[in-house]
């Protein structure tokens, strides 16, 4: 397992696999009728879906590392996060180019007036600094702690993405709620992990603490 995870080829495979959805969509553009009656909407929904999926996959790396005891999974996190950003960029460009036909006045009006666009746009904009600072150089420049703090913005982007979808649908909210459930579990695990940390301290520390409090009580 470990040798598979650490192999440089695995990264190439994950990279190519992540490009498959985009490849299939580009292929379908050239097959008449493959994108259905409303091709722009199909492409917008597909790229939106893949953004949310890659956000969920990226957010599942940390839990999986701990639960499966496979710390090597970290090798894929940056790439998967950048793919979430890649599909978000595609989604945004389709909206700007095909839906709004480069009417920047209309786009700004949409962002200001329509809450589902406002929240979706916010989630997207928050991903930009994360994509820029995803390099090793930026981690060094910012320092690990500050870099980690900044990159927690992905939690906001994921939640914003789900709300964006939920507010978009007319009446059938099943699919947005499924995404909401997945993202909630992934974020809840982090809360659980964070709160349960003190209890998972090594035993010597614990007994030392107990001794301390015992002596404090005796005094």
């Amino acid at each position: 397992m470990n040798s598979i995870l650490t192999s440089k080829w695995t990264k190439v495979v994950v990279f190519l696999a992540s490009l498959i959805p985009a490849g299939l969509l580009i292929r379908d553009v050239f097959i008449p009728g493959a994108l259905g009656g409303n091709p722009t909407q199909f492409l917008e929904h597909a790229t939106g879906d893949w953004t949310l999926r890659f956000l969920a996959i990226t957010l599942s790396i940390s839990p999986l590392r701990k639960i499966l005891h496979q710390p090597q999974l970290i090798r894929f996190r940056r790439m998967l996060g950048l793919f979430a950003f890649f599909y978000a960029v595609c989604h945004f460009c389709l909206y700007v180019g095909l839906d709004q036909v480069l009417d920047f006045h209309g786009i700004w009006a949409d962002v200001m007036k329509r809450r589902y666009i406002t929240v979706g746009f916010t989630g997207f904009v928050l991903m930009i600094p994360l994509a820029i600072t995803s390099t090793a150089g930026w981690i060094r420049r910012l320092g690990g702690k500050r870099w980690s703090m900044l990159h927690r913005a992905i939690y906001i982007s994921a939640v914003a993405g789900v709300i964006h979808f939920y507010w978009l649908v007319k009446s059938d909210v099943h699919l947005p709620l499924e995404y909401a459930a997945v993202i909630s579990v992934l974020l809840a695990w982090r809360l659980y992990d964070w709160y349960s940390k003190p209890a998972r301290r090594p035993v010597p520390n614990k007994s030392a603490a107990r001794k301390e409090s015992a002596s404090a009580a005796a005094e």
Binding site: G37, T40, L98, Q100, V101, W167, L168, K170, S171, D172
Partner: protein
């Protein structure tokens, strides 16, 4: 009041719709081709279940002066990209899930504030008035549009037969609803059966179409078979599908999308580029199957010359 007896039943009402339609198709093919080869082909059609599922029959029509000369949308688009929530909320769902929908026998009950309430069988509806082909623009509230060659006649032709009384101010329409045939109904997120309504003068306007077909044939199930309304100056959801009940009433009737979200969908729902949907602009539309939302939406979907007078003196921003 016409009470229906079993002797009144017509052949079309007791034969399953698909087979019935294929019988017609079969006869039509024979009459047209007369050749053995054509008969053979239609015999194959008759026993091939996959063809039977998409059964439809040709309708003879006369042209209409209401038709637009704009390019007609490919039938493939208009029959695979549908909003018919009873059969699923994805646009491609109805084309898949409505194929087994039984639309024969079928009748439409017309009641309420009328002198002569009665039921119309599909046979009666098909023969009530000469069938016209009307090529209308169809603008969905979701900012896409298509151009469809509908088949039918003005709703007023049917309405006149039941003689609405002076109490009739509105017309309430109701769709067929059957949980067994529409197992996805619970996921629709809207109250069913689907109901719609028009003011009496709107319903009696000659543009308001009682529609039984499209693209030269009877309506496919996903497009609202066997009979529906088409109100071309209003957003698509006002054009109710698979009609079973028409009531002439005194008061403004409830309408499905208004019940679902009154803030977003008004009773009138006239196509209006100056009144945005709260979640998107209505100024432009994408003409399917195109990619760019660059077609300017017209007031009353371009039917203002005919219908604007219905709303003179009304604030259409308030009465959206």
């Amino acid at each position: 009041m016409l009470v229906k007896r079993s002797q009144d039943l017509k052949y079309s009402e007791i034969t399953p719709h698909d087979i019935y339609l294929n019988r017609r198709k079969f006869l039509y093919g024979m009459g047209l081709a007369g050749g053995l080869g054509m008969v053979g082909k239609n015999l194959v059609d008759l026993v091939n279940p996959s063809i039977r599922a998409y059964a439809s029959t040709k309708l003879q029509t006369v042209p209409s002066s209401f038709s637009t000369t704009e390019t007609v949308t490919p039938a493939q688009v208009a029959t695979t990209y549908n909003n018919y929530y009873e059969f699923g909320t994805d646009k491609q769902d109805p084309a898949k899930n409505a194929q087994k929908f039984v639309t024969s026998p079928w009748s439409v009950s017309v009641e309420g504030e009328v002198a002569k309430p009665r039921k119309f069988t599909m046979d009666e509806i098909l023969k009530l008035s000469p069938l016209e082909e009307r090529i209308y623009r169809h603008r969905c509230v979701e900012a896409w549009s298509i151009v469809v060659p509908w088949i039918g006649y003005s709703f007023s032709a049917l309405a006149k037969l039941v003689e609405p009384t002076s109490n009739a101010k509105y017309v309430a329409f109701e769709s067929y609803f059957d949980k067994k045939q529409m197992p996805l109904w619970s996921e629709a997120g809207i109250q069913l059966p689907y109901v719609e309504g028009l003011r009496l003068d709107e319903a009696m306007h000659p543009l308001a179409l009682l529609c039984v077909g499209m693209y030269g044939e009877t309506l496919p199930n996903q497009d609202g078979a066997p009979v529906r309304m088409v109100v071309p100056w209003k957003y698509g959801f006002k054009s109710i599908k698979s009609l079973v009940k028409i009531r002439f009433v005194k008061d403004q009737p409830p309408t499905t999308w208004n019940i679902t979200n009154a803030h977003e969908y008004g009773f009138y729902s006239n196509v209006n580029p100056t009144v945005d949907h709260p979640r998107w602009s209505q100024a432009r539309e994408v003409r399917l199957p195109g990619y760019f939302k660059n077609t300017k939406t017209q007031m009353f979907n371009g039917y203002g010359d005919q219908v604007a007078s219905l709303y003179s003196g009304m604030d259409l921003k308030k009465n959206y």
